[in-house]
Symmetry: C2
């Protein structure tokens, strides 16, 4: 059977032709007026996605680079911080903080669960010297939505604490209102909701965060916010930008402006809801207690290995989903709804899941989940 490829992993995600063709244009030099015009435009437009008026820096790096940048630009050796874990990427905050010698406290929800904001408040009250709280908007490894708004309310009036959020797989799929919710630093990568290849990372910086930047003593060079902000004022990056990706970003942001952020968020919610209800209808369970709209983690049913299921969906049907990470390997599969994804992609994912389960000897009534998804999609199609 002809195998078309359906990339439904939570990053990289499909890239629209418009963006691919923009990136295929002849390369331009970055120290030119031509580049500066594009760079200034994308630096403004990206704020729409972050829902912020603060500056957003653009690095040539993966999202993890932006996470490191957030740490090294705001803190000093021995500073006390709080990292909320509960998944591979929450743990990454913890690990980066530790790597830079910070006094790292953690709150560790079970994977699939999220931190209770009250526990964070209690911790902040017990340790008023916590300089930064690190959280995740959409925990990619478990498909869990973090309580960012609630955490922001707790942190925003504390002058000595900043709130730093990894929105790498969340931004553009799960609502985050950076300014309104008091997120001081929000980071993301290009290969998720922004509908781009990997290679760019983004960091928004609040005025409050800038005060921390002024006193930060951790060593930094490539990630130096001050150098980047100084260059940004001249329509440039401090070091060579990923030119073709910046050009592609302009095209991606044009598509985002055209669709509108609210419509984009509603679309992700609809596709996620259709997926969640479809898999429940065929007797499967969601892994997360607080499912995010970016990616749905589904427990492999009794007797079925999640890795085998993932592989079957890929090799036979061309539908590429993610498996479980760390101790969840073999236990879950993860279907993304992230970025350039439409309703028929979701239908395709559910159809492939139903067929793959039957292939593996787990009987599912073909079309049952698809029907459910289609009903929800039809109702919500605007």
């Amino acid at each position: 059977m002809l195998k078309k490829i359906y990339l439904m992993t939570p990053g990289p995600t499909p890239v629209p032709d418009e963006v691919r063709l923009a990136e295929a244009q002849p390369i331009i030099h970055h120290r030119t007026k031509e580049f500066t015009e594009i760079f200034n435009q994308v630096s403004e437009d990206i704020k729409i996605v972050f829902k912020t008026k603060n500056p957003v820096l653009i690095f040539a790096s993966s999202g993890t680079g932006a996470m490191e940048a957030a740490v090294v630009n705001t803190l000093s050796p021995g500073d006390k911080v709080l990292a909320i874990t509960g998944g591979k990427f929450g743990e990454r905050w913890r690990d980066i903080c530790k790597a830079f010698g910070l006094n790292t406290l953690t709150i560790d929800p079970e994977w699939g669960d999220r931190a209770d904001p009250k526990d964070v408040e209690r911790m902040l009250n017990e340790h008023p010297d916590i300089k930064a709280v690190f959280a995740v908007l959409s925990e990619t490894s478990t498909g869990t939505l973090g309580p960012i708004k609630e955490l922001g309310e707790i942190i925003k009036d504390r002058d000595n604490t900043i709130f730093v959020v990894d929105a790498i797989s969340g931004l553009g799929a799960c609502n985050i209102e950076v300014d309104e919710w008091g997120v001081d630093i929000c980071v993301t990568g290009s290969q998720k909701g922004l509908m781009m290849p990997p290679g760019l990372a983004f960091v928004s910086i609040s005025d409050k965060a800038m005060k921390f930047v002024e006193t930060s003593k951790l060593p930094k060079y490539y990630w130096d916010f001050k150098a980047m902000l100084k260059s940004k004022a001249k329509g440039q990056t401090a070091y060579t930008p990923a030119v073709s990706l910046i050009v592609g970003l302009k095209s991606a942001l044009d598509l985002i402006k055209q669709e509108g952020m609210d419509n984009i968020l509603a679309r992700h919610h609809l596709l996620a809801e259709a997926t969640r209800e479809a898999v429940k209808t065929i007797g499967l369970e969601l892994f997360s207690k607080y499912p995010a709209d970016s990616v749905t983690a589904i427990k492999a049913p009794q007797g079925i290995d999640g890795e085998t299921l993932k592989k079957q969906m890929d090799t036979k049907y061309g539908v590429k989903v993610a498996g479980g990470q760390a101790h969840l390997k073999g236990k879950i599969i993860r279907i993304a709804h992230l970025g350039y994804m439409g309703p028929f992609d979701t239908i395709t994912a559910i159809a492939a899941l139903e067929m793959a389960l039957n292939d593996l000897g787990y009987p599912v009534e073909l079309g049952k989940g698809v029907k459910k998804a289609l009903e929800i999609i039809y109702k919500g199609w605007k």
Copy 2:
């Protein structure tokens, strides 16, 4: 809602990335060894699709150009010919023959029906001076499969009559065995089963047809088979070829060889069968008495205008199907399964059809047809 485009018209059809990228390569000059190597390769490989050992000429033109070429290269003014109509493209054979002053007899099945081979045999017995019989493999306007094998049996032993077949929308979707079935001239275009953009046309020529070419007196220059065959022997075309399309053709034929003709035909049959059963399940009727596997013509249900239905599927769901032509305008829609089309495309088409019908006030149980299609697809997926 984000609108992805699903091109399900019976030409043009979707073009795989491999082919698009091949066509985007730097243009090469055609009077070079480099071009000749590619041209010789595609001239051989195209025979696999035609199931022929005869030469296949490649013109820069639409399929209609190749139809005209078949007429003007084999016949002389006043020759008696038989055109089997029954649809827009059968009628095109008739119209081309008339335009060149041929004595044009016709057999005219109702649109959606096909000629009875016995009627053709009777006509040939009554008019032994019929020089050529023109038929259509897949009548695109009605989704009808012509009785090509049966007609070939009737014509192949008549030395004074050649059998000319329009396989434009049929080739690569509906089986045709050019040599085995005694098809003397078979024509096709690039934008159908060959998974390419429009712009190339193909003509296979049997030894028997070549005898007609030797005596043909109709005027010709661009379409001159002899000039093209002479150039072909040197790995060239007589006039400037559509270079980027020839380069794309190499890539398309590589994909075809990789999948294998039998697998390709089985895939088209499976998708067509799934579509036919799905639409019947939701209470719709097929238009054709002999449905082809290239495109399925579906009667617009009572009270629903076919053009409105087509438009709804396009504007709301991004699924581009064809409407009816000539007197069938508003009466039918046509969903293609042609070329670079996989099972999930068919699922998408049925889902969009179900939703669009509901939009227009024709109640269809959402997912009913999709479920049927999925069951058939699952059973036939190899």
